[in-house]
Structures are given as C-alpha cells and as structure tokens.
Subunit: 260 residues, 2 copies
Amino acid sequence: MVSDPNVYFAKTLEKGLTVLGLFDKDHSRRTLSEISRLAGINKTSTYRLVNTLVLLGYLSKNARSKALRLGPKALLFGHTIVQGYELLHMVKPLIDEVHRLCNVTIDSTLVDGQTLLALYRREASSTLFFRQPLASEDLHARATGKAVLSRMDQSDLETFLAKAPFKKITPNTIDQASVLLRQIEEDRNRGYSINNEEYLQGLICIGAPLMNFQTGKVAGAISFDLPTTEYTIESLISTYAGQVTKLANDISELVTMNES
Amino acid sequence: MVSDPNVYFAKTLEKGLTVLGLFDKDHSRRTLSEISRLAGINKTSTYRLVNTLVLLGYLSKNARSKALRLGPKALLFGHTIVQGYELLHMVKPLIDEVHRLCNVTIDSTLVDGQTLLALYRREASSTLFFRQPLASEDLHARATGKAVLSRMDQSDLETFLAKAPFKKITPNTIDQASVLLRQIEEDRNRGYSINNEEYLQGLICIGAPLMNFQTGKVAGAISFDLPTTEYTIESLISTYAGQVTKLANDISELVTMNES
DNA sequence: CCCACTGTTACTATAATAGTAACTATGTTA
DNA sequence: TAACATAGTTACTATTATAGTAACAGTGGG
C-alpha cells in the first residue's frame, strides 16, 4: 500500500480501494478478518470500510455466514471504469479489424512500471483456452514482455534484470539473463519478438512493442497467439511478422496521440 | 449519493468512489471543477480526493491542461473487480456454449432495484453493432426488461409503472402502461418476452427471466438478439423460444445456488 | 491588459477515524 | 455440556483527518 503523509491525500479512500481490490477472480469471497489481515488495517476500521461498501452495494454480505463478496454495484462500477478508459476504445477497432481478417488471437498490454497490464484481447474461437492474467510481471516469458524489454531504457531494464533468474513457467522459459539479453537485442533489430512455448506449452506468439513516438518510450505491446498444432515458429514469422509490426505501429500512433 | 449518519460509515470512501465513478465511456476526461460540481463536493476536498487517486495511479493528470482521466491502475482495478464477480464465471460457460451452437448474440443482465445491469454478453460476429448499455432503466423497451417485469412482484412493478408513459426510443417502443401490462401478462404465461424493434430498429430479441428459485424472486434476464434481415418475430420464436427458456432455467439454478 | 476561470495552497474548527477493549455469536474440542 | 477459540459487532475517546473559507497562482479568451 503506497502512502503519503500529504495533507492532500485521503487515506480512507486509499484503504477502501485496497479493500475492494482484494476481491478478484481467485478470491471472490472473503471474511472480515481476512481483509483486515491482508490490508493491514485494524478490525474496527476494516469493519467501517466493509460496512460502507456493503451499504453502498459494492459488497454484499451473507446474513448467516457473514461472508463478503462483490455486489452488483461493483460489477457496474468495474465495467464503467474499464469502458471509461479512453485508449481502449481507440485500440479496439484496429484489433478487431485485424482479428476479422486473420482470425487470430490478439492481445494488447500496457506497461506500468515493471508490470504488463491487460488492455484488450480478442480471441480466435479456436485458440486453446488459458486464463489470461490481468497483470503480469513475467516479462521474460511472454512475447509482449520481450517486445517491451527490447525498447525499455537502460535503467528500467537493469531494474528488471536485477531479479534474474526468472521464474521458470514451462521447460522453454528463459531463465538466464544472458540469453534473454541476446534475444531482446535481436528483437530490437527486427522489430518483433517471439514466444516459443515459454509461457504455455502448445502456444507460440509473435509480439511487437507499442511506442510513444513523441517521448520515444515504450508504452506496451501487442501479440498474436497461435497453437503449435497449426504453426511453427517459421510459419508464424513469415505469416504474421508484417501484420503484427504494422498493427503495433498503428496503435502506437494512437498511444502517442492519447498521451499528449 | 447515498448517505448514512452511521459511525461505521466512511464518508471519504463514498466520495472517492463517486469521483472515480464519474469517469465512463462518454466522459473519459474531466476537470477538477467539473468533478467538484457533479459530485457536490467542495473544491478543496475534491482536490484532495483527486490528488489521492492520481498518486495511487487510478487517475492520471495532464501536466499542462490538468485534465484528468483514468490511469492504468484503474483499468486493472476495473478488470479485477469484474473478474472477481463470482456469478460471471458461473454464467459464462453456459452462454458461450449456446453461443457456439447457435451463433447468436446473447445478453445477460441482473436486476438491481429498477435497473438492469449488464452481466455478460457474447456477440455473434454478424450482429449489427450498437452500444450496449452497462446499466439501463428502459425495462419497457427491452426483451430482458420485459422478462424481468413479467416476474416482478406487485409493489416493485407499481413503482416502475409510476413513471409511465415510458421513454419512446424507436417508433415501436411501447409507451402505454396498459399495452405493456397486457404484454408482460402474456410473457409470464408463455415464459419468454419479445422485443420487436422497440429498442433499436432492425433488431428483434427474445428474452427470458432469471429466477432465484429459493426466494421466488426475479434476479435478471437473458436475451437472444437477432437482425430483422434474417429473422421475423415468428421465426425467432419458433427457432429460439425453447433455447432461451432452457438457458434461462440453467442460469437460474446457478443464480439460486450463488445467492444462498 | 484585464477578466474569468481553474487549479493550488494555508489555515483551523469541526467532524471523522483509529485503536482499545469489551461483548456477542458461532462453531469446535475435550 | 462446558470450555475454548475465532469472527464479528459495538462503545468509547484521543487523535488526526477533513471540510470549508479564503487567498493566491496559472492560463486562456476577449
């Protein structure tokens, strides 16, 4: 929990958002004590926050078990916020169009510090299903991650490398900094990155970075995901390298416009 | 803004959520004064709240123009919350499966007071595109709305009827309570409702209510949406009436389980 | 250049929150 | 059944955060 001893900082709001943010896909039900423990807020204050969220409809409380879960208001709130994210609406039609033409799964992510955040994803009906993370720190194991790393500035890259070796997710996952560095060097030159079953077995991906042309900074990345049953790395590159860099370029223009 | 003079109620949290909720699809950029005015919070307090949200990354502020918009953290937060809504994950596979079989656009909504909230929507690729509302009070003009009305209890129905005649959205929209009452009476008997271009010209829909079997209360509704270019009301009913009521029944079981 | 407006900061009375502690409810173990 | 453990709720204040006023700064338009 970030804190700031500023007069113009509403601590109660920070805590309330922390509480609400504890409810996610893997934790749709929580108890008061659990929330108190996880958020590091004392029981009475937690009770006040939770009670507020219940009264406002963001949480609902089971009358018997007292178990808490998200309420309908939270669903609306979440939807509203996601829809209110301007860049999403700028990016969506471009991705949908390429998806329509190629019938391929396309993923777009934004970089926030050392984390990749899901922006918009359009799935081909045939893609093998896996749970897409909303936020990921496994940049070393994803096509989008390597695309971002290939354009990151030196200091940020060093921060990232500091925690090497990286989490081994599949047998193919790169866990040595030297190998990763060689790859992203190559990716920088050719303009796209490859994921060879490094994140999920059976899935290969080709990614390209999203740039803010004005600042020269990397803003995120996109990737096309395909099953190994239908593609090899070579056919993936020959089929999609042009498309993915073109799309990344188009989206980069939107990102640049949006951030200025 | 709901308020409560309770000791166990965090007003600052309420206000902060109100501020964040002001950012939606049609209002992705806002100014401090605007927020202050809309939320009914004085300028300094608004400044504190906004500043907090900026520091936490939920909002980002343009350094020059001072314009505010949602930040990456808000996108993640919104996604996390939506994904944290348990019922969504229970309902999704059922809807996806019927979508796969029928290649039809399926919409599911939950009723919250007098409002329909979007739960999950799966679009057929061919559907004519329109902007799906996240929250709607136009129950009289939608298949889901009429499905819900057909199972609402008397007092809630009267509350709803109190604001008749209803907003005319297309030439076909029903704006007389008597006509609407006759229709929902029929819908109650046959188990499904029809929308004959009453919400959008060129779009006809068939809906069915979601029930909590344990409490006997209506919890929401689903609908299949189809273009008039491919279907008539008659062919819509003969093709989908069985499917939609079956799916509604299956989802109702989940709703019942979920709410107990 | 002035005006009107938005955003920022200083200041303090007032109101809200944190934290302790006691109490209740519920379920578990001996 | 009693004792115990745990989770949730409430009462009570010292402390501290916030609301609101007012003054100031920055910006763009006329």
